[in-house]
Symmetry: D2
Subunit: 349 residues, 4 copies
């Protein structure tokens, strides 16, 4: 029997609609390396979604999406401002530094994972950008939804975009959970990105029902350098020979607003978990639960009970006082009944 797993949204499988799209794309011989109709249609499809002309490249993982994005927005002697716990900072095995030829990731503190415009401004103006001794300020990268399950509001993104524009920083958004952010904020994709100053977006899809695909999306003036991104993409081994099967996932993902609906479902189940768990003694949220992730302090006994009941969970980090820190994540296919069951188990301790 399928296991109810709350450890990560990466543990979830492929949505049936996505699998169907792969099967449908499996007809006859078509040109390889992106020379197919599905790939050809991506720019228009995403352009419609974002209400502006965009340039799009599909990639296989969120890691490489970020690696390529970073290498696209900074010279090797540049500095990219990001938060201390950003994926690009701590989870990519130094991929951003490698792919960019040695750019500096300058990590900044960020309450609940949200960078503050003033903090960015101070860091980015610490050095004269024309002084060749120092890392040259080059880019700003934020994660939306953040690494701690919170969100930047549209206005907060805009405020960062204003700093980026003032200081001539290319503005990147790591949107591994972009769908969850859009669903929760109720804004348009355009409002949350290029209208707020974002130049490059890592548009996540894998965590939200796809098999393995993300889209690199370039907006506005930065599109003039899209040819460079295509070279970086090919050189990184991301030009899949049977690209149609990756583009098909993206196409089906966008169709009928599935991406929003699936993210909305995940967000709602996370909200139910948050509400139910924090009503229990000794359980509290470390960060507001605004998307599909919960970062909790809970009694180890509660964790043990959930574990014993067969739920898939990542290990708890004990705090030494009988409590511990644990992340729970919901996904596009989280069964509400499993949420009920988990709350029941937790409540029974």
């Amino acid at each position: 029997m399928a296991k109810a797993h709350f450890g990560s949204d990466n543990v979830s499988g492929i949505a049936p609609e996505i699998l169907d799209a792969i099967v449908r794309a499996n007809q006859g011989g078509v040109d390889s390396y992106g020379g197919d109709a599905l790939t050809d249609g991506l720019n228009a499809r995403f352009g419609e979604l974002f209400e502006t002309e965009v340039s799009v490249l599909p990639v296989g993982t969120g890691s490489i999406a970020n690696d390529l994005a970073i290498s696209f927005i900074t010279p090797p002697w540049g500095a990219v401002y990001c938060h201390h716990d950003a994926h690009i900072m701590v989870d990519e095995a130094n991929g951003p530094e490698f792919f960019s030829g040695g750019a500096k990731l300058a990590d900044l503190p960020a309450e609940h994972g949200r960078l503050d415009p003033a903090t960015v401004h101070t860091a980015a103006t610490a050095f004269d950008p024309t002084d060749i001794h120092h890392p040259m300020r080059a880019a700003l990268s934020i994660t939306q939804a953040t690494e701690w399950g919170t969100l930047y509001s549209v206005d907060q993104v805009k405020a960062l975009g204003a700093v980026a524009r003032e200081l001539d920083l290319v503005f990147h958004m790591d949107g591994a959970r972009f769908a969850n952010a859009v669903a929760a904020l109720g804004c348009t994709p355009a409002e949350l990105t290029w209208k707020a100053g974002v130049d490059v977006l890592s548009f996540g899809a894998t965590k939200n029902g796809c098999m393995a695909v993300e889209a690199l999306i370039v907006f506005g003036k930065k599109r003039e350098q899209f040819g460079t991104l295509q070279r970086l993409h090919k050189r990184a081994g991301q030009l899949y020979s049977k690209m149609r099967f990756f583009s098909a996932q993206l196409e089906a993902y966008l169709e009928n607003d599935r991406w929003i609906q699936w993210a909305d479902h995940a967000n709602r189940q996370a909200g139910r978990l948050a509400e139910g768990l924090t009503a229990l003694d000794g359980i509290s949220l470390q960060h507001p639960c605004e998307a599909n992730e919960l970062f909790l302090t809970m009694p180890v006994a509660v964790y043990d009970a959930m574990d014993a009941a067969g739920f898939g969970l990542y290990p708890i980090s004990p705090n030494g006082d009988g409590s511990g820190s644990i992340r729970l994540v919901t996904s596009f296919n989280t069964d509400p009944a499993d949420v009920d069951r988990l709350l029941e188990v937790a409540g029974a301790v």
Copy 2:
């Protein structure tokens, strides 16, 4: 209607057995980033196939398989000997140089795409390897089946392996069409690789019926450094979060000797094309057809007829005398009736 495409084996789709395996793997929540049972079983599965202990990593494209292999077998100041037309030399957008931190690809002439042991020996001993001014000899890379559709016999691989051992070169085989080589030679995978001195194999699967997966296979003593390859692999963004769907492809590919049977089918259809076409006036093979590729000189008029008949073909390179150079490729799902039809069209010119 599905188009009969002879331009490349990359234009073919996914074999039904592979798609089934992806569907079957889509059950419940399982640990991500390779922490699933299918991925866990790969070392054993390939170990059985190769009759020895091996260390395996799945990757998404042939390009990155080669990039990672090269970066694994040479220091940045090393030289990797390969043939002038090797994929690693001309088709990876300098990925091998990039991923290795600047290693030198030293290209050598090779009749019909087959490197000669004496040529390798001469090139690799041109410089004293302890003289730090010069590229340090480090590795040998061959393509099997070759870029020109020919094969190295087991003895030819062995002879190159002997040179590699003598000169302390790590020996890599780019096996994007390894299946076609094994099927055609009738040898065991072991005989064609580690028993002949091969240390690292890029084991192709995508061109032969998979959706998007290749396996990096490390043999023998080189396995002691497998931890380094795992870091390179993660850093390259190749650690897919839903890795199970890539491992599932490999598992189904090996099952019931499918990989050999599919390659054998492709080889046979290529053989039929070669026999039929070279019987026609003005058509000749530029290289022996030993696997699933044909490199032909043919009248442009014949090409035009095939094109007009609706076959998928890559552009012909005109020779200026009414003839041109053209590659035809068959694949795991080439319909023999399409071969008949193509021969008929060509014969009617």
Copy 3:
């Protein structure tokens, strides 16, 4: 007339004894690229100084000394812990990241420029080093004398060395002003380095009277990988064809304890400046003056007077309240009469 310059020790010229050594080395034809007797003798000469076997390479600048040291002590996926204002962090135009193939410089806060062992321990144990997602802890780098003109005591270095040993971090010391540290602490070079756990030292000489030379010094077990450092060194264009003129500088620098005496002179003049200036109204040290650098808060009016009197100074950073921040540096050839004169000018405001 020569200008009395207190902006940097880099503004000072070449000590006559060093110039003499260059002239003396200019006899006849000798083997190039380090094949000369002077270069050949460096290992023995530094071995004597450090009371142990060492492996030495001369380089042309402090920047490249640090770049090569960092690339020698970490894999590309490693993390190097350093202080927030370390030269390797902010003054090398991302050279350490570039030369190391993308290693992470993890900057830590450090009071008065001195890293605290507990801070290092916490940062270096934040991630499991076997988890390939995260930067792998690899090395520790400190600056001695520090970027803020302070010193680590021998015991403080030892305490950091103990953390490095416990966590398997290679321990690097950026000793651009190593001479000033040894002179001030009155310890032996051995006590301050390998006996305290240091594996690799950037041994500065340029700031203290040489024309352009620093020595990379490798101690203990790390010497087993010295061949790799020689490749990195050659590849960085640091194998000077007429190497004898660089080795001659180092040889003359060590002779008769000149390096210590010159540093001692600089330290004493800095001490006199510190004593004299802080006796004046409104002038205070931002950090203790323990070597040859002073970081001062002073009235802008005082600065202006010194500037008007013709002293070479770097620009002051105004604090907005009539005071500003300014660095003064003394060197091997600072004339005590110029110190007197500067104090006089400052005192007269």
Copy 4:
């Protein structure tokens, strides 16, 4: 007593006029990192020499001059066409590949070390430069004087410049022995470089009497990107803190046409050696002697006699028939009497 060394021009020391210039520059405190008057004057001084506006950066070695030049003229996915024995190909420990982030050095055959325009054209048009799979043609690099002691005439450089312009290749000249070429050809520096299409010149000085300095010289439109070269230069650790002592060498080198006169002297002594030696039985030139290098076949017995007579020589490569291959090089300070003596010793065998 000084040894007469004919192994390399790198074995020679520093010309007295250059040493004097270093001594003269050693006055007082001046701004560091190139903020001195001598460095400031280089653009004008070289502009005068080349009869056009140029942008100049001093570096410490010929290796790094080439490494930086190559990284300046090609993107990482580019191809740089050069001759098979070019220094950038075989003598820089893969520095050009490393500094360029993985660019491809595409080596071409070249009789007597001179690339042929048709060969370059064929190689550079083998691939469609807009096809992102292949290395993108980017640059052409030649060595003048060549690696085999021959010269390109002004017209030959022009013909290569025309190919470069036609195919949009940046044109680099490795002029480690540029002075010898200008002296031998009797042309102007302008005629041999930018007037013939050269964009970037590695202007050698070390082999011809300096201690350690070369100049990177950028011409014409490529000067618009000079800011990038400055970042590359700083990042490579080439921004010497006491830069004045490097700029002083260049300034003195150009003064009174010394650079030409010294090279002319070396060329003449090489010519005398060539004439005298080839008059002897069994001695012949492998390449025309057109600058200051001789590549000879000679009886090993002759070599042994020269060696026994105390001349500094690099090892001979025996041909197995009693003869061997040997390089002799003259320099700015080769004593004509030593040439006489060597001819006498050789003639007496």
